[in-house]
């Protein structure tokens, strides 16, 4: 499964809920304000680490660049719009809005 998260973890508990419901082998893709969770050294790193123990965690490059998030929490991978489309094609998607 693919989970997309578009909210900042500093705004609400969307990412937390996503991580709670995500299963081993799922992919979590951070988009829009969701990419703010990927900033290196941020206070939500424990949540990201919990996510990465069971899931692949990706962040969308266009949204990272737009927000000047250049230093990422170690382990988070970057994808682009083409990668996003590939993921949607391969997986059932849940948008954590």
């Amino acid at each position: 499964m693919l989970h997309t998260v578009n909210k900042s973890p500093f705004q609400n508990t969307t990412l937390e809920s996503c991580v709670r419901f995500a299963r081993s082998g799922d992919v979590i893709l951070l988009i829009e304000d969701g990419v703010l969770a990927a900033q290196a050294g941020n206070a939500k790193i424990a949540l990201l680490e919990e996510a990465m123990q069971k899931c692949e965690v990706l962040a969308l490059s266009a949204d990272l660049k737009a927000r000047a998030v250049t230093e990422l929490v170690p382990g988070i991978k970057i994808t682009d719009y083409n990668g996003f489309v590939d993921l949607v094609e391969k997986n059932t998607t849940h948008s954590w809005l």
Binding site: M1, T14, S17, F21, R23, T92
Partner: protein, 133 residues
């Protein structure tokens, strides 16, 4: 050969009344019920407030939709679930939940089923589509 029946899940994660999402989502569920689909609905996070009984929107000047939940079973939407952790975190118990219909034979009220998050996660993994409201 008959097409496989689509498994479609609705997730409701927003509180009612503050935004239009929950109401619109309910409309979409009732429309989708007209199609031959295997529908399930999950209330999680603030979405559990959508199925809290006793909502009175009179003073807001808007038509509430709690009564519409009472018709879900009539629309053959019977797979209605509430995430236990979300419910308990918000100070609610099973007694607080709305009725979604009544048993055809016994006329006993039917309520959403309160389930654990891993059960919801397993159901999510089985779906063809998941629509979030």
């Amino acid at each position: 050969m008959a097409e496989e029946i689509k498994k479609i899940m609705f997730t409701v994660r927003k509180a009612p009344h503050g935004t239009i999402y929950v109401y619109e989502g309910l409309e979409v569920k009732l429309i989708m019920a007209a199609y031959d689909a295997d529908i399930s609905v999950v209330f999680m996070d603030d979405g559990v407030f959508a199925v809290k009984k006793g909502q009175n929107t009179k003073e807001l000047g808007i038509k509430g939709f709690e009564a519409t939940y009472g018709a879900l079973v009539d629309y053959e939407i019977t797979k209605v679930f509430v995430d236990r952790q979300s419910m308990e975190e918000r100070g609610m118990t099973e007694d607080d939940l709305v009725v979604i219909g009544e048993d055809e034979d016994t006329e006993e009220p039917i309520k959403p089923q309160v389930v654990e998050s891993d059960a919801i996660a397993a159901m999510m993994a089985e779906q063809h589509n998941i629509l979030a409201f």
